[in-house]
């Protein structure tokens, strides 16, 4: 779960990571309350789950109360890349001497956390690595709650950070790392980490990505999860404990399967035959008829989808439950084609139920045969 900027700042504050002062506002009325709390000029930033807000007009400055109210109200009324701006984040404007980069994330190769720091920041880290690889320190960290002093000293020596910033830098690293561990982060990034004109280090903007599987430990952020999930079908699916995955904006096929591997395999095979999957839904294990009915309705409600491919290899999942789910939903979905492959537990029972539904459901035996059927249909 990727936190919005204002929420990232909240957790920075919680862990005493020095960051800029700011207020969150979700209605024009609330703007008045912010006036007086920050010194002008202030920065007003749209809080939406997408990049390049600035270019879209989602970041503005206000020199005084009037501008604050005007610009704030304007941004609150905007929509950026189709996303309605529900919240804005109003912060002090910081005078910056230098922009740096600091993050903690997972290193898949070593299965450990990694600290990445560069005294050049403000842009995407991949860009920094490309331009100034020698100015990037990347240190794998042992499993643990704290970061060792000698590790930070190494980073300092490696990147040549000035003596006068050492203490503040170590302090920020320690606190951000503690936050990274305690909040089950996959990423805790400060970019830019600025040196202010007054010579202090501050987190100006941050990205915090929290492990979905650990959200139960963090109820204070969990409640914001649905708010920032902008795709209504993802939300609907989550309500039934399904994973809905938008694949391509183009495409006309929706895939329903009972496992991540099978979904990927289905998409791979379909794509290989020149067809395009627009979305997929993972039922997980052991879905019942009623839940399967809902899954079908969700996928069918995507206007792009005109063909649904149900590919089930049942272990815990029972083929007869799948078939009953199809039966229950068949009148509610207006999809053009429905191709079904059933294998595994209670296969025969399931096939019988499907055959009884009749209509133009295409029953296939095997994944390959299913994809063949899809391809034939497309060629018609």
């Amino acid at each position: 779960m990727k936190l919005l900027e204002y929420k990232a700042h909240e957790v920075f504050h919680e862990y005493e990571v020095p960051s800029i002062k700011g207020f969150t506002v979700s209605t024009p009325e609330e703007l008045e309350r912010v006036d007086g709390k920050l010194e002008y000029p202030v920065v007003i930033k749209a809080q939406v789950q997408t990049g390049n807000r600035g270019k879209a007009g989602g970041i503005k400055f206000a020199e005084n109360r009037d501008q604050l109210l005007k610009q704030g109200a304007e941004i609150l009324g905007m929509s950026i890349k189709g996303l309605e701006v529900k919240r804005i984040f109003i912060t002090e404007k910081v005078n910056i001497d230098k922009e740096m980069y600091l993050s903690f994330t997972m290193d898949r190769k070593t299965k450990l956390g990694v600290l990445i720091f560069s005294p050049e920041g403000g842009v995407d880290i991949n860009e920094i690595v490309e331009k100034n690889p020698e100015k990037v320190a990347k240190v794998i960290l042992p499993a643990g709650e704290e970061i060792d002093d000698f590790t930070l000293q190494y980073v300092i020596d490696k990147t040549g950070l000035k003596q006068s910033y050492h203490d503040e830098f170590k302090n920020i690293c320690k606190k951000l790392y503690r936050m990274y561990v305690h909040y089950d982060c996959l990423l805790a990034e400060i970019n830019p980490l600025v040196i202010t004109s007054e010579g202090h280090l501050k987190a100006l903007d941050g990205k915090v990505d929290i492990d979905d599987n650990a959200l139960y430990r963090h109820p204070n952020v969990k409640e914001f999860r649905d708010e920032i999930t902008e795709n209504p079908l993802v939300l609907q699916a989550r309500g039934f404990d399904f994973l809905y995955i938008p694949i391509k904006d183009r495409g006309n096929i929706g895939v329903i399967s009972n496992g991540s591997g099978m979904i990927m395999s289905s998409i791979d095979l379909i794509s290989k035959r020149g067809m395009e999957v627009t979305c997929a839904l993972d039922l997980g294990g052991g879905a019942t008829a009623d839940r399967i009915q809902e899954a079908l309705k969700i996928v069918a409600s995507n206007p792009q989808v005109d063909t649904i491919f149900i590919n089930i290899f049942g272990g815990i999942t029972r083929c007869d439950e799948i078939a009953e789910g199809v039966q229950q939903s068949i009148d509610e979905i207006d999809t053009n084609r429905l191709v079904i492959r059933l294998e595994g537990t209670n296969k025969e029972k399931g096939l019988q139920i499907i055959r009884n539904i009749g209509g133009n459901i295409e029953l296939v035996d095997g994944l390959y045969e299913g994809v063949d059927a899809l391809a034939e249909g497309m060629n018609k």
């Binding site: 898949r108 991949n126 492990d211 599987n213 650990a214 399967s257 991540s260 990927m264 095979l269 272990g315």
Partner: protein
């Protein structure tokens, strides 16, 4: 021979008194697995399906000379249960739960290595040596005894493969669910040496997917140490970047790390047969056995 689980396995089931634990204990027993003890804190002294239940793994180990444990516990309790098993000297710990926090697995992965414990999973169906024993929840009817080894990040792709193999009359030696999480207890590289030295395995099938670098590391290892033929499938070629495909581990970074292309290229260079699909695996296996 086979490895991990077989006729010599003396299995502990952690979480045996839970619904899933009891159901699958029965399944495992019916398959012939020697379940010697169960562990559920607070339920010590009771019995499930004729299996004595203890409060602690340590007591179960001492009383039954167990040599493996399988965990049927929810993801919230996986860390605690696996930690207890590792610290109690269980040499092989198999975990099932889907949805374990990454930071929990980070700690367990390294703890197991440090203590010399083989940790398998989570987000895995477990381990099965067909005809001998199983530890996990896999639908064992589709497996058959034979000389092909299979290890997989995905349960469904593994089922599909094993199903095709069985229909073609090709059995398996040991099938390991490495699991779909970002940090598994054991990676392909950790399991490969067992296949290499298992006299009952002729061919190894590795079912990988996008995300991470396990397949690349496996390629390096295979190049150096594996003499048996290896067939690999990488699922997720057409998955969008920076999007979770369900498995926590199956995600290609925005910078392209973890792409199917990189994996296939490295595997090919290591002499691994690349399969385009589960059906393609079957085609290649037939040329090798």
């Amino acid at each position: 021979m086979s490895f991990f689980v077989d006729e010599n396995t003396r299995l502990i089931v952690q979480g045996i008194t839970g619904r899933e634990g009891t159901f699958h204990t029965e399944q495992m027993q019916q398959y012939g697995t020697n379940v010697v003890a169960g562990v559920t804190p607070g339920k010590g002294g009771t019995e499930v399906l004729g299996v004595p239940v203890y409060n602690t793994v340590r007591e179960a180990m001492e009383r039954h000379e167990a040599n493996a444990s399988v965990l049927f516990v929810p993801p919230k309790f996986l860390y605690g249960a696996a930690y207890e098993a590792i610290m109690s000297g269980v040499p092989l710990v198999m975990t099932i739960a889907e949805g374990t926090p990454v930071h929990d697995m980070l700690k367990l992965h390294h703890l197991a290595k440090e203590k010399g414990v083989q940790l398998i999973g989570p987000n895995s169906f477990g381990v099965i040596s067909p005809g001998k024993a199983k530890a996990g929840f896999m639908a064992h009817r589709i497996f058959s005894k034979g000389r092909v080894g299979v290890m997989s990040r995905s349960a469904t792709n593994c089922y599909e493969t094993v199903f095709l193999l069985k229909n073609a009359g090709i059995g398996q030696s040991t099938v390991v669910g490495v699991g779909g999480d970002m940090i598994p207890g054991s990676t392909f590289v950790d399991v490969l040496p067992f296949y290499e030295k298992d006299p009952d395995t002729d061919v190894v099938i590795m079912i990988g997917e996008i995300g991470g670098s396990e397949e690349e590391l496996a390629a390096e290892y295979i190049k150096k140490y594996v003499t048996k033929p290896v067939i690999a499938l990488i699922a997720g070629k057409n998955a969008p970047k920076d999007t979770s495909m369900g498995h926590a581990g199956a995600i290609v970074s925005p910078d392209g790390e973890g792409s199917a292309e990189s994996k296939e290229e490295k595997l090919r260079a290591a002499g691994v047969h690349i399969a385009e699909s589960t059906e393609d695996i079957l085609r290649i296996v037939k040329t090798l056995v």
